[in-house]
C-alpha cells in the first residue's frame, strides 16, 4: 500500500512490449495453436487428432491424419473435458507443432518428408530423443483450461523443462488470455470450443476459479445434432466424406447422388474413427455455411405475441443450399438450420436418440453464465456483464453472439449487457493464443516466468505457486 503511493502508473501511450522471442502454445480439443509471441496469428495450427498405424506409430499433422492409410485409426490427445488425455502423445504432438513450422531444428527433414508424400509419416517419434532440445532457446507460454487439475499443470512444466529444455515457462489460463486479446483485464469470457463451452470470470487478469463453469454443448455437440438431423430427415441425408469419393457428377437438389466410391481392399480399410473424423470435417463445413442461431425474439420453442409458434415463423425465413462431397445437395430450411444448435440454448429443443440423450438445461449457455455469476462476488457482477467476451471457433455460428446478447438482456434486465466478439474470424478462432502472444511479449511479464533455475530448485510444484 505504502509502496504504491510512491510510484506513478505507466503513461497511457508508453510501449509495454519487450519481446524475447517466446513461444506460445495453445492446445485445444480440435487443434493446437503455436507461434511466436508478439505475432498476431499462430504460425502453426495442427490438429489435436493423430493417426495411429497398426504398428503403434503415431503420426501428426493435417497431411497424415486425413490420408486414408490402411487400418489407420484416429485418436485425440485431448479428452472431452478439455484436459490432456494422453500426455506422452500430446507432448510429441505439440513438439511437432512447434518444431515443424517455428523452430528450425527439423526443417530440412520436413521438406523431404512432408507435403507431397502423404504416405510418409511426418515425424518419427524415435528421432525426437536424439534431437537436441526443441525449444531450448525460447521461453514457452502454455495455455490451459480454467479447470485444469494440479497434476496436469505439473506435467506441463515437466514436459516443457525436461523434454523441451525451455529456459523459462509459464502456464496461463486460456480464459484470461482471451480477455487480454479483447483488451480487457476484467471480463466474463465465454469460450465456445470443440468439446466445451466454458465461462470464466476474470478480474484484474486473474481467473476467479469458483466462477468457472463448463458444459459439453459446444462444437462437437452441434456436430452430433447435425448428424441426428441428417439421419432423422425424410429421406435421410447421406453423409459421405470426401475420401470415399473417387468421382461424382452433378445432380438436382434432393436427387440421389451420382458418385463412384473408392474401395479399399478387405483388411486395409481405415478404422471407423477415421471416417468419423472425416465426417466431422464435412459437418464443420455445414456449420460454417448453413447452421444459424434463431434470431429471436425468445427461443425457437416459444411463440410470437400473435400466437404463431416460432417454428412456424421460421418457415418463412430463407433456407440455405448445401452440397455433400458426393454431389447430393439440398436447400436446408431455416427451421432445420436453427434447430441444429438450438440445444445450446434450450435443452428441450435438442435432437435426441439412444446415443445422444437430451442435455440438461443447466448446461445451456445462458444458464451457465448465470451459474458463473452466482459464484462470484456481487460487486463485480454488473461489471462482468458489461464486459463479456465471446471467443472460440464454435462461436462463429451465424447469429450466435446476437442471440446470446438478446437472451442475456432478457435474463438480466437491470444490467447493461455488452458483448465483445472479435469481428475477424482469425481473432475469434485464436483468441486465447493471441492473448498469450500479447502477454508473453510484455516487458512486465518477464518477472513472471518460471525459470529453469527455479524449476530445478523447487520442482514441478512451483507451477502452483507462480501460475495463479
Amino acid at each position: 500500500m505504502a509502496g504504491q503511493a510512491t510510484l506513478k502508473p505507466p503513461d497511457a501511450n508508453e510501449y509495454g512490449g519487450d519481446e524475447i522471442s517466446a513461444l506460445v502454445l495453445d492446445p485445444g480439443y480440435s487443434t493446437v495453436r503455436a507461434g511466436f509471441a508478439g505475432e498476431d496469428v499462430p504460425k502453426s495450427v495442427v490438429p489435436s487428432f493423430y493417426a495411429s498405424t497398426p504398428s503403434q506409430k503415431h503420426i501428426f499433422g493435417d497431411n497424415s491424419i486425413h490420408t486414408p492409410s490402411p487400418q489407420i485409426s484416429i485418436n485425440n490427445v485431448m479428452s472431452k473435458d478439455g484436459t490432456v488425455r494422453d500426455w506422452d502423445t500430446a507432448a510429441s504432438l505439440w513438439e511437432y507443432a512447434i518444431t515443424s513450422k517455428l523452430t528450425s531444428n527439423r526443417q530440412g527433414k520436413l521438406s523431404t518428408n512432408g507435403l507431397n508424400d502423404a504416405e510418409n509419416e511426418d515425424i518419427k517419434m524415435e528421432d525426437a530423443a536424439e534431437q537436441e532440445k526443441p525449444v531450448g532457446e525460447n521461453a514457452l507460454l502454455m495455455t490451459e483450461p480454467g479447470w485444469n487439475a494440479g497434476k496436469d499443470r505439473e506435467r506441463a512444466i515437466e514436459v516443457a523443462m525436461e523434454s523441451w529444455g525451455t529456459p523459462a515457462f509459464y502456464l496461463a489460463r486460456n480464459g484470461v488470455l482471451a480477455s487480454f486479446s479483447a483488451g480487457k483485464p476484467a471480463a466474463l469470457v465465454i469460450d465456445i470450443g470443440a468439446a466445451n463451452i466454458s465461462i470464466s470470470p476474470i478480474q484484474d487478469g486473474l481467473l476467479l476459479r469458483k466462477g468457472v463453469v463448463r458444459s459439453p454443448l459446444a462444437g462437437n455437440f452441434v456436430s452430433d445434432q447435425i448428424r441426428l438431423l441428417f439421419s432423422t430427415a425424410q429421406p435421410p441425408v447421406p453423409l459421405t466424406p470426401h475420401y470415399l469419393i473417387s468421382s461424382k457428377s452433378a445432380v438436382d437438389a434432393g436427387a440421389q447422388a451420382q458418385a463412384t466410391l473408392k474401395h479399399f481392399p478387405p483388411g486395409a480399410e481405415p478404422h471407423p474413427s477415421f471416417r468419423a473424423l472425416q465426417e466431422d470435417r464435412v459437418l464443420t463445413e455445414f456449420k460454417e455455411s448453413v447452421v444459424a442461431a434463431w434470431p429471436g425474439p425468445g427461443k425457437l420453442s416459444g411463440h410470437s405475441p400473435n400466437g404463431m409458434t416460432n417454428l412456424d415463423t421460421a418457415k418463412s425465413h430463407p433456407g440455405k443450399p448445401f452440397e455433400m462431397p458426393d454431389g447430393w445437395n439440398q436447400v436446408f430450411q431455416a427451421a432445420d438450420r436453427y434447430r441444429c444448435m438450438e440445444g445450446m440454448f434450450d435443452a428441450k429443443m435438442a435432437l435426441t436418440d439412444g446415443e445422444n440423450p437430451a442435455p440438461s438445461q443447466k448446461d445451456c449457455i445462458i444458464d451457465l453464465i448465470k451459474q458463473s455469476l452466482n459464484s462470484v462476488d456481487t460487486d463485480i457482477r454488473a461489471m462482468l456483464l458489461n464486459n463479456m467476451v465471446v471467443t472460440g471457433s464454435g462461436s462463429l455460428i451465424q447469429g450466435l453472439t446476437s442471440r446470446i446478447q438478446d437472451e442475456m438482456t432478457a435474463a438480466f434486465p437491470s444490467s447493461k449487457i455488452r458483448i465483445h466478439a472479435a469481428g475477424s474470424i482469425v481473432e475469434r478462432k485464436f483468441g486465447s493464443w493471441i492473448g498469450g502472444s500479447i502477454l508473453a511479449s510484455l516487458g512486465t511479464f518477464h518477472q513472471m516466468w518460471i525459470s529453469r533455475k527455479e524449476y530445478e530448485e523447487f520442482g514441478a510444484g512451483i507451477v502452483e505457486k507462480r501460475c495463479k
Binding site: G3, A5, E19, D379, S414, T444, Q447, K453, E464
Partner: protein, 740 residues
C-alpha cells in the same frame, strides 16, 4: 507483306517506306551539309526516330550515418531474484540504460542454452525497463509474541491468520480474487496453497468465511501492526488516514450494502422500468427546480424578502431548513416581515384617511424600527417612500375622478334580501352566483381529496345540493367544508409523516445492523402500518377540528377560512418531512390568530371607509369588476387568490402613489407579474409530480432527492402568496390605467 501491302489492300497511295512514318520529325532541318534528308536518315545522324527514355530511379538517399545493426542482447529483470537472463533485439550501439542491481553469482546458471555462459561475466547486464513497475505492498508483520498479546481472536487461529495475510499480500488485496482462492485447511500438512488448487477435493473442516470476514480480520491485523510499528501519535497524515480506514471497516455495513447490490442486480424488468421512469421524473423535477430557484430569486429581489438565505446557492442553503429548527426560524422571519407589512399597510391606509391614532403611530414606528434592523437596505428605503407619499394623500385623489355610478342603490335590507354584496375584495371578475360557491367549496385540488370531503359531508348528512342556499347558509356551508378540508389535509399529512418516520426508523435499524432480513418485512409492512396510522390520524384530527371553528362568527370566519384554504392548498403538496409537519401545525395556529386579527381590523377599516369616501371606492371597484371580465389572469387565479387580492388592493394605494413619482415602475411590475406566474406554473408542475408519487408508493417519497424540494417549500408557500398579491396589484393598476 509489310506496310506497303497493307496500303495496297486499303487502296492508299504507296508512300515512301520510312521506318517510322508516324513519328513527327518537324524540328529537323531539311538539308544538312548539302546532303539529302534521306541520306541523313540512313546515317541515323540526326535525332533518332524513337527517343529512348532510360528508366530513371529515385536517387538513393544519402544518409549521413551508417545503419546500425540490430542484435539480440541479453538482459535481466531486477524484479526477479533468480537472475534469469532473457534476450531481446536491440540496436547495436544502444547502451544499456540501466543496469541490473542484483548480485550475479555463479549459482545463477539457469538455462540450458549458452545464453548464460557467455553472459556470466557481464555483471553490468542491462536491467529490464519494466522492472520499475514491480510494486508490492508491505506485509503486516508480527512476531509470535505480538500475535499472542495483541492479535488473538477466538475465531481465528494464528495459522489461518498467517494464511490470510499471505494470500492478501499475494493478490495485492484484490479481495474478489482472495475470497475466490481462499481455501484454508485447519491442519495443513504442507503449504496450504498447494492443495488449494484441487477444487474438487472436499475440505476437512474449513470455517466458512465471507469476504467481509476476511477483510475485517486482515484490516484489524494490519491496523494493529501499523500502530505497533508507529504509534498513532507519530503517524504522518497519510498513514493515519490509512489506519483510520482500516479500523473503521464495518463488516456488517458491507454485508448490508452487498445485499442491496444483490437486490439491485435481481430487479425484474418491471422494477427496472419503473426505476427508469422515476429517474426520468427526478431529473425533470431537478430541472424544474433550477427554474424554480431562478424565479424565486428574482422574486426575492423584488419582494424584500428576508435575505436569510443566499439565493445563488439555494441548493446548498436549503439544507439549513431541513431541520425543524431551521424551518421554524425561517417561518418566524417570514411571519414577522409579513406582520410588519400588514401593519404598515394598515398604517398607510389610516394615514391616508386622516385617521391617526396613538396606537397606529406606535405600531408603525416599532415596525419601522424592526424593519430597518432585520430587513435589507432596499426594503427600508421603499417603505419610507411609501409612507412619505401616503402623507400626500394621493390615494384620495385617485378615487375622485371616477364618474358617478349609474346603478341603482340598494339599502342594507335589500342587499340581504337579494343576496347582493359589493365585496371589497374581488373574488372573480363579474357576477358570482351562490351555487358556484357551493360547488367550488367542496372541491379540493385532487380527486381523492374531493371524494373524501364529499364522504365526510355525506356522513354529516348534508346534501351535496343545498336545499336553501341563502347567503347565510352558503356561508355556513363554506365554513363547514373548509373545516372538513382542513381535517382531510391534516390526516393526509399525518399519514405521510408516519410513513416517513417508519422509513427512517427502518433505515436506522438497518444501519445499526439488525440484519437485512428485515428489509423485506419492513417495506412490506410499511403500507399496512401507514393505513393503521391514518385511522388514528382521523380521530385526532376530529378533536382538532373544534379549535379553529370556535370563537368565529359569520363572515369573519369565512374570510379566515378562505385564507386557510389558500394556505392549505399549498401545504397540501409542500410538506414532506417530519420536521416540517411540526412547523406546519404551529404555523397554522399562528396564522389563524394572525388572520383573525387582520380581518377584524380590515372590517374596521372598511366601516370607516364606508362612512366617508369609502362608497366611492367600493363603486370604483365594482366598475372595475365589470370592465375586467376578459382579464385572463384574474380568472385563472381563481378563488384562492381572493384574499390575496384584497391585500393587493391595500397595497395598490401605495403603489399608485409610487407611480405618481416614478412612472417607469410600470414595466418592472409587469415583470414581477410574469415571474409570479412562472413560479405558479412551475410549482404546479412539481405539485403534480408529488401527487403522483404519493398515490403510488410512500417509499418513493423517502427518496432523498426530494428533500431539497421540501426544504424550501415553506418558503415557497409564503413567497407564492406574496407574489399573488403583487400580481393582483399590478393587474388592478393596469386596468385602471386603461380606463384612464
Amino acid at each position: 507483306m509489310m506496310g506497303s501491302d497493307a496500303r495496297d489492300m486499303m487502296g492508299l497511295p504507296s508512300a515512301v517506306p520510312t521506318p517510322k512514318p508516324t513519328l513527327p520529325k518537324a524540328p529537323k532541318p531539311k538539308m544538312k551539309g548539302g546532303m539529302a534528308r534521306e541520306v541523313l536518315d540512313l546515317n541515323f545522324e540526326g535525332a533518332p526516330p524513337i527517343s529512348i527514355v532510360a528508366p530513371k530511379f529515385k536517387e538513393k538517399p544519402k544518409i549521413p550515418f551508417k545503419p546500425r545493426r540490430w542484435e539480440q542482447t541479453p538482459f535481466m529483470n531486477s524484479a526477479r531474484k533468480d537472475g534469469l537472463v532473457l534476450r531481446h533485439w536491440k540496436r547495436e550501439g544502444d547502451a544499456a540504460p540501466n543496469v541490473a542491481g542484483l548480485p550475479v553469482t555463479p549459482a545463477d546458471s539457469n538455462a540450458a542454452s549458452e545464453m548464460d555462459t557467455d553472459d556470466r561475466p557481464a555483471a553490468n547486464i542491462e536491467d529490464s525497463r519494466a522492472a520499475k513497475w514491480n510494486v508490492r505492498i508491505d506485509r503486516p508483520r508480527y512476531s509470535a509474541e505480538e500475535y499472542d498479546t495483541h492479535l488473538k481472536n477466538a475465531d481465528w487461529s494464528k495459522e489461518e491468520t498467517d494464511y490470510l495475510v499471505d494470500l492478501a499480500i499475494e493478490f495485492d488485496l484484490r479481495w474478489v480474487v482472495i475470497i475466490d482462492r481462499y481455501d484454508f485447511r485447519p491442519q495443513p500438512k504442507s503449504e496450504p496453497s498447494e492443495d488449494a488448487m484441487a477444487i474438487d477435493t472436499p475440505t476437512p473442516h474449513p470455517k466458512p468465511r465471507t469476504m467481509e470476514d476476511l477483510k475485517s480480520r486482515y484490516y484489524a491485523v494490519a491496523a494493529k501492526c501499523m500502530a505497533l510499528r508507529t504509534p498513532l501519535s507519530s503517524m504522518n497524515p497519510t498513514e493515519f488516514e490509512e489506519h483510520e480506514k482500516m479500523t473503521k471497516f464495518d463488516p456488517r455495513k458491507e454485508t448490508v450494502r452487498k445485499q442491496y447490490v444483490e437486490k439491485l442486480f435481481l430487479r425484474t424488468p418491471e422494477e427496472a422500468h419503473e426505476e427508469e421512469l422515476l429517474l426520468k421524473e427526478l431529473s425533470r423535477i431537478v430541472l424544474n427546480q433550477e427554474k424554480l430557484y431562478e424565479d424565486r430569486r428574482a422574486l426575492y429581489d423584488r419582494l424584500e424578502a428576508p435575505r436569510a438565505i443566499n439565493p445563488a446557492a439555494a441548493h446548498a442553503s436549503t439544507t439549513v431548513y431541513q431541520s425543524s429548527q431551521g424551518l421554524q426560524q425561517l417561518m418566524q422571519t417570514m411571519m414577522q416581515s409579513q406582520r410588519l407589512r400588514d401593519a404598515e399597510k394598515r398604517e398607510k391606509r389610516r394615514s391616508a384617511l386622516g385617521v391617526d391614532t396613538e396606537t397606529a403611530n406606535s405600531h408603525s414606528s416599532s415596525a419601522a424600527d424592526l424593519r430597518t434592523g432585520g430587513g435589507g437596505g432596499g426594503g427600508g428605503g421603499r417603505s419610507s417612500m411609501g409612507s412619505a407619499s401616503a402623507g400626500g394623500g394621493g390615494g384620495h385623489e385617485k378615487r375622485q375622478p371616477h364618474p358617478t355610478p349609474q346603478h341603482r342603490h340598494f339599502n342594507q335590507a335589500e342587499r340581504v334580501r337579494f343576496g347582493i354584496s359589493y365585496p371589497q375584495e374581488r373574488l372573480t371578475s363579474g357576477v358570482q352566483f351562490r351555487h358556484e360557491r357551493v360547488v367550488k367549496a367542496s372541491q379540493a385540488k385532487s380527486a381523492v381529496q374531493t371524494t373524501r370531503i364529499n364522504d365526510a359531508l355525506a356522513e354529516l348528512g348534508i346534501p351535496s345540493r343545498l336545499l336553501m342556499p341563502t347567503n347565510r347558509v352558503v356561508t355556513e356551508y363554506e365554513r363547514l367544508v373548509e373545516g372538513v378540508k382542513q381535517l382531510v389535509e391534516i390526516r393526509k399529512m399525518r399519514e405521510k409523516v408516519d410513513g416517513e418516520i417508519k422509513i427512517w426508523e427502518a433505515q436506522r435499524r438497518l444501519a445499526n445492523g439488525d440484519g437485512a432480513d428485515e428489509v423485506d418485512d419492513q417495506t412490506a409492512g410499511e403500507s399496512a402500518a401507514t393505513n393503521a396510522q391514518s385511522e388514528q390520524a382521523k380521530d385526532e384530527g376530529a378533536s382538532k377540528e373544534a379549535e379553529p371553528k370556535e370563537g368565529e362568527n359569520g363572515e369573519d370566519a369565512s374570510k379566515v377560512e378562505n385564507k386557510e384554504d389558500d394556505d392549505e392548498e399549498e401545504a397540501d403538496e409542500a410538506a414532506r418531512t417530519k420536521a416540517e409537519e411540526k412547523v406546519e401545525d404551529e404555523d397554522e395556529t399562528e396564522h389563524l390568530e394572525n388572520s383573525r386579527l387582520e380581518v377584524e381590523e380590515d372590517v374596521k377599516d372598511e366601516d370607516e371607509d364606508g362612512d366617508g369616501e369609502g362608497s366611492n371606492a367600493s363603486q370604483a371597484v365594482e366598475e372595475e369588476d365589470e370592465d375586467e371580465e376578459d382579464d385572463d389572469d384574474e380568472e385563472e387565479e381563481g378563488e384562492g387568490e381572493a384574499e390575496a387580492e384584497a391585500e393587493g388592493e391595500d397595497e395598490e394605494q401605495s403603489d399608485d402613489e409610487d407611480d405618481d413619482d416614478e412612472g417607469e415602475n410600470e414595466d418592472e411590475r409587469a415583470e414581477v407579474e410574469k415571474d409570479g406566474n412562472a413560479v405558479n406554473s412551475s410549482e404546479n408542475q412539481v405539485d403534480d409530480n408529488n401527487e403522483d408519487g404519493e398515490n403510488e408508493d410512500p417509499e418513493a417519497e423517502a427518496n432523498e432527492a426530494n428533500e431539497p424540494d421540501d426544504g424550501s417549500s415553506t418558503r415557497a408557500r409564503s413567497m407564492r402568496k406574496r407574489s399573488a398579491s403583487v400580481i393582483s396589484a399590478v393587474s388592478n393598476k393596469s386596468t385602471k390605467r386603461q380606463k384612464k
